[in-house]
Symmetry: C2
Subunit: 140 residues, 2 copies
DNA sequence: TTATATGCAAAGCCTTTGCAGAATT
DNA sequence: AATTCTGCAAAGGCTTTGCATATAA
């Protein structure tokens, strides 16, 4: 559980707040907005600051412990776990829920296209928009 | 040139401002932010309102004449043209430039993955992050 | 003529920044 | 003890909203 030691390894400080943000992120199975994380933490620590959440998330992203994802117009964060680099996101336009999917060969396809034009690819973000199973049924 | 008649068909009004926004969007080969469009239009019509640009873009998106794309943290718009649904975007993290690419079978792959879980897919947005050819060279 | 659109100003998100006091190492 | 972090308040982008006036139909 101490991926967080990476913080100390950088000569930075492992504060209670940073542990809380990381823990909240890890508990939130999928992805969470800064605001959701702050609300979750506030249940235990009333008055926890959004500012601190943002600053900590920036740090975690920089250390490679978290990843920022853009779902539609909303930004969210997810903990980086082994293999989790590979999933992609679906956003339901009706209920707003998000689902993870795995598209085989996606990365290969994109790498092929980018290498042809000399673009050095770091990361691929894919977001699908539509209606989740539940909402699709209700509308049918 | 009168895709814009779709506006009148909806019982709405085809104003000079709406023509200007649409024209600016069509001229901007790739994608443009609301602000870029507003600046461009302001050269001809000083004092043109950002508000109007936003409202018009919303309308164009609703009518299917424009598409909103999310490039990293920035929102941009592009005119919808035949076949243009199929391209995807690369963002250079160094210079901020964006490039269009075409990834064959991308949509097929995503459709396969979504259909398995009953998600009704409307649109797929893919953004690759990295360094464009020019920036990659300078750093090498 | 009448409903719709624009201009302007103001408010609303989400996120970042500045600074003094608190806390980690 | 020294430097880094947090809390708070305030500012900053981008986008939306409200309302009176102007305008398309």
């Amino acid at each position: 559980m101490d991926a967080l030691e990476a913080i100390r390894d950088k000569g930075l400080r492992l504060t209670p707040q940073r542990r809380l943000v990381y823990a909240a992120l890890a508990e939130h199975a999928g992805h969470a907005t800064a605001d959701q994380l702050c609300s979750a933490i506030s249940l235990k620590v009333p008055g926890f600051q959004r500012t601190t959440v943002y600053r900590t998330l920036d740090l975690l992203v920089e250390l490679g412990l978290a990843r920022r994802v853009q779902l539609g117009h909303a930004s969210a964060y997810e903990a980086v776990r082994d293999g989790s680099e590979l999933h992609q996101h679906l956003v339901c336009e009706v209920c707003g829920s998000t689902t993870d999917i795995w598209v085989p060969q996606l990365l290969d396809g994109v790498r092929t296209a980018t290498s042809q034009i000399g673009f050095e690819l770091d990361q691929v973000e894919l977001v699908g928009h539509g209606r989740c199973r539940a909402c699709a049924r209700q509308l049918a």
